[in-house]
C-alpha cells in the first residue's frame, strides 16, 4: 500500500470528522456542560458551604482554648448568657469555665467538632512523610475517573459517524476510493485530536475555576500526577476508539446502535466504578494499575500517591500501548468485514470471518 496515499486519505477523513463534530450542537452543549460543571464544582462549595460553627465562650481560658480553631467565637460575659444563646440556637455550643478547666454546653447533641478542637492532641511523628494523605488521593481518583468516563463516552461519536456512513451507503464510495484501514485510522485520529483538544481546554480552564473557588490546594494536589495521566488518557482513549468503531460497523442503522454499544459502554463505566470501589484496597489497585482498561486511571493515582515507581508506570503504559495495537488490528479486520454488511446486527464472528 502506498504510504503517502494512505496518510493523505487518513488525514482527509480525520479532518472531516473534526469539522463535522465541531459543527454539531450536541458537541458544544456537552462540552459546555463539562466546563460549567467544573466551575460549579469549584465555586459553589465556597458559596454555600461557608457556614462556620458558632461557639460562645466565657472566660479567658475558654477563649484561649478556642484560639486557632475554625469556629466563629462569640465572647460573652457569663454562663447564663452563654446557655441562653445555646437554647435559642444562636450558637451551637458554648465553652464555659468549670473547675480548673472548661466544659462544653450544648442543646441535645454532643458537639463533636467542638470537643475535638478542645482535646489536646498528642504530637504526631510521620515515619514516611512523603506519603500522600487519603483526602488528596480520593480527590485525584475522582478527577481522573470522571475525566476518563467523559472522554471514553465521547468516543461514542465514532460509532455514530460510522453508522451514518453505513446507513447512507456513502461507505460504498469511500471503500472504492481509499483503503478501509485509512477510513478507520482517520476516524480514530480525528476523534483523538478532538479529545486532546478538549483536554487541553479543560487543563487551561480548570486552574482558573479552582482559583476562582479559592481551591488552590486541590489544584496543587492534582498537578503533579497530570503529566502521567495525559499519556494514559490518550492511550486509553485510543483503545476505546477502536472498539467504538467496531460497535458502529456491526449495525446498519442508528436505531440499532444501542445493541452493539453496550459492551463498550461497560468497558468505559467498568474502570470508573472499579477504581472508585477498590481505591482503598492496595492489592486490587496494584492489579488494576496494570490491566489495560483500568490502568489509565489506577496507575496515575498510584503514582500520585507515590505507591508506584516510574518503571511500573512505563510497564503499564507499554502494556496499554500493546493492547491498543492489538485492539486496533482486530478492529480493522472486523471493521473491514462488517462495513458493507446491511441488514440487522452482524455477529462478531461473522464479521471476523468475512473476506472483503
Amino acid at each position: 500500500m502506498d504510504r503517502r496515499r494512505f496518510w493523505s486519505a487518513t488525514r482527509l477523513v480525520a479532518e472531516r470528522e473534526v469539522r463535522t463534530l465541531l459543527r454539531t450542537k450536541g458537541f458544544w452543549i456537552g462540552f459546555a456542560v463539562i466546563v460549567v460543571g467544573l466551575f460549579a464544582m469549584s465555586i459553589l462549595p465556597t458559596v454555600f458551604g461557608g457556614d462556620q460553627t458558632k461557639v460562645a465562650a466565657v472566660g479567658s481560658q475558654a477563649v484561649d482554648a478556642l484560639e486557632g480553631s475554625d469556629f466563629e467565637v462569640r465572647t460573652v460575659s457569663d454562663v447564663d448568657e452563654a446557655s441562653a444563646l445555646v437554647r435559642s440556637e444562636e450558637v451551637e455550643a458554648a465553652v464555659v469555665p468549670s473547675g480548673d478547666g472548661v466544659k462544653v454546653l450544648a442543646l441535645d447533641d454532643p458537639p463533636t467538632d467542638v470537643v475535638a478542637a478542645l482535646r489536646t492532641a498528642p504530637q504526631v511523628e510521620l515515619l514516611d512523610p512523603s506519603a500522600v494523605g487519603q483526602g488528596p488521593r480520593m480527590v485525584t481518583i475522582m478527577v481522573f475517573a470522571v475525566v476518563f468516563l467523559i472522554f471514553g463516552m465521547g468516543g461514542a461519536a465514532i460509532a455514530q459517524s460510522t453508522v451514518v456512513e453505513k446507513q447512507t451507503r456513502i461507505v460504498e464510495i469511500l471503500v472504492s476510493t481509499v483503503p478501509v484501514r485509512a477510513l478507520l485510522a482517520g476516524k480514530i485520529l480525528g476523534h483523538t485530536v478532538l479529545t486532546l483538544g478538549q483536554a487541553v481546554v479543560l487543563a487551561v480552564v480548570a486552574p482558573i475555576a479552582l482559583r476562582m473557588g479559592g481551591q488552590q490546594e486541590l489544584l496543587a494536589m492534582v498537578a503533579p500526577a497530570l503529566p502521567w495521566f495525559v499519556p494514559f488518557l490518550v492511550l486509553g482513549f485510543l483503545l476505546l476508539a477502536g472498539m467504538w468503531a467496531v460497535a458502529g460497523s456491526l449495525v446498519s442503522r442508528q436505531e440499532d446502535l444501542g445493541s452493539s454499544m453496550g459492551l463498550v459502554m461497560l468497558l468505559v463505566i467498568g474502570p470508573y466504578f472499579g477504581v472508585m470501589t477498590f481505591s482503598d484496597d492496595a492489592t486490587v489497585m496494584h492489579v488494576l494499575s496494570y490491566v489495560p482498561f483500568t490502568s489509565a486511571i489506577a496507575m496515575p493515582v498510584r503514582l500520585f500517591a507515590l505507591q508506584a515507581a516510574a518503571w511500573e508506570a512505563l510497564l503499564a503504559l507499554g502494556l496499554l500501548a500493546g493492547t491498543v495495537v492489538l485492539v486496533v488490528l482486530l478492529a480493522s479486520r472486523i471493521y473491514s468485514g462488517s462495513l458493507l454488511h446491511t441488514g440487522g446486527k452482524m455477529a462478531l464472528k461473522k464479521a471476523w470471518a468475512r473476506e472483503e
Partner: protein
C-alpha cells in the same frame, strides 16, 4: 480500456457470477443490461474493489487494477448516499480530494460540475435539504468531480425526471467524447438503446451477449419485414418460403427463409393492389435481450 476476464463470485453456495468477461472501451458508452439479480451490481462492485472476486481478474490498460488506480475511477453505486448533513459543494469537493485532487482543483471542478448539472444555487445547502432528483444530480457530481479515467455508474438514470436525464446524459456524453470509457447499468432498455455504443448483456451471472450495439442487432435481429396493404394481408403466409410472425388485418410481419423472398412478397402484393408500406423491422434491444437470455 477496462478488461474483465473470467471473474466469478459466490455468496455462500449461491454462485452469482460465473466466468464473466467483457471490455469497456475508451470513448464509448457501454450499456450493462440484465434483469434484477442477474449480477450487474456484483460485477461493478468487483471492478471497484468493494467486493473481491473468487476467480478471474480485472485489468486497467493491461495491468491488474490496484487501489491506486481505483482512486481515479468514478463510481456511482446503486444504493445512493452522501453525507446528509454536509453541504453539497463541500462534500463533493471533499470527495474530490479523497480521490487525490488538491483542494483548489477539487473546488474548481465542483463549481464547474454544479454549474453543468444546474445545482449551483443549492451549492451551500445541506444534502438532506435537496429534493431526491437534485440529490441524484449531486451523486453524479460526486462520481465525476475528480475527472475519472473510467466511469462506472449503477442505474444512473433511475429516479430522474426526463429533464434531469437529459442533463445527466449531456454530462456523461461529454466525458465519453473526451475518451473516458463509461460503463452504466440499466434495466430501462429504451434508455440504453438511445445511449450506448456497446452492450453487455448478463443473465443469471453469465454473459449472454457482448459487443457493439449495431453488431448485436445484426447478429440477434432476425430479418423481418412489415407490409401494410389495402385489403386483408392474411395471404402473405401462403407465399412459399415465408414464415408469418404476426398478422392483423391489412398489416403482416413475416420472416423470409431466403434472400429475395421478401421481394417475391412485395411483387405479389403489388399485383394484388395497393401497398401502403413495406419496411424491414430493426430489432430493439428488448428483442435482442429477450433472445440473448
Amino acid at each position: 480500456m477496462l478488461t474483465v476476464t473470467s471473474i466469478s463470485r459466490s455468496f455462500g453456495d449461491h454462485r452469482v457470477l460465473d466466468d464473466v468477461s467483457f471490455e469497456v472501451r475508451p470513448g464509448r458508452m457501454t450499456g450493462f443490461l440484465g434483469a434484477n439479480g442477474s449480477g450487474k451490481t456484483t460485477t461493478m462492485r468487483i471492478v471497484l474493489g468493494v467486493l473481491a472476486a473468487h476467480g478471474g481478474a480485472v485489468h486497467w490498460e493491461g495491468a491488474p487494477v490496484t487501489g491506486e488506480m481505483r482512486q481515479r475511477f468514478g463510481y456511482m453505486p446503486e444504493e445512493r448516499g452522501l453525507y446528509p448533513k454536509m453541504g453539497v459543494a463541500e462534500q463533493i469537493a471533499w470527495l474530490g480530494q479523497l480521490h487525490g485532487l488538491d483542494q483548489a482543483t477539487a473546488r474548481r471542478n465542483t463549481a464547474r460540475l454544479l454549474e453543468q448539472l444546474e445545482l449551483s444555487a443549492r451549492a451551500k445547502d445541506k444534502l438532506e435539504e435537496l429534493s431526491l432528483g437534485n440529490q441524484q444530480r449531486a451523486q453524479v457530481a460526486a462520481a465525476l468531480v475528480h475527472d475519472p479515467v473510467l466511469l462506472i455508474l449503477d442505474e444512473p438514470f433511475s429516479g430522474l425526471d426526463p429533464i434531469a436525464v437529459e442533463t445527466v446524459l449531456g454530462v456523461l456524453r461529454e466525458r465519453a467524447a473526451g475518451g473516458v470509457p463509461v460503463l452504466f447499468s440499466s434495466h430501462q432498455l429504451s434508455v440504453v438503446e438511445r445511449l450506448c455504443d456497446d452492450v453487455v448483456i448478463i443473465s443469471g451471472g453469465r454473459i449472454a451477449a457482448a459487443g457493439a450495439r449495431d453488431e448485436l442487432r445484426a447478429r440477434y435481429g432476425t430479418t423481418r419485414f412489415e407490409i401494410v396493404v389495402a385489403g386483408d394481408a392474411g395471404w402473405v403466409g401462403d407465399v412459399p418460403g415465408v414464415r408469418l410472425v404476426d398478422v392483423d388485418g391489412p398489416r403482416a410481419v413475416f420472416e423470409p427463409d431466403d434472400d429475395g423472398v421478401d421481394q417475391v412478397v412485395l411483387e405479389a402484393a403489388l399485383r394484388k393492389g395497393t401497398v401502403r408500406s413495406f419496411t424491414p423491422v430493426v430489432p430493439t434491444l428488448d428483442e435482442i435481450f429477450m433472445e440473448a437470455i
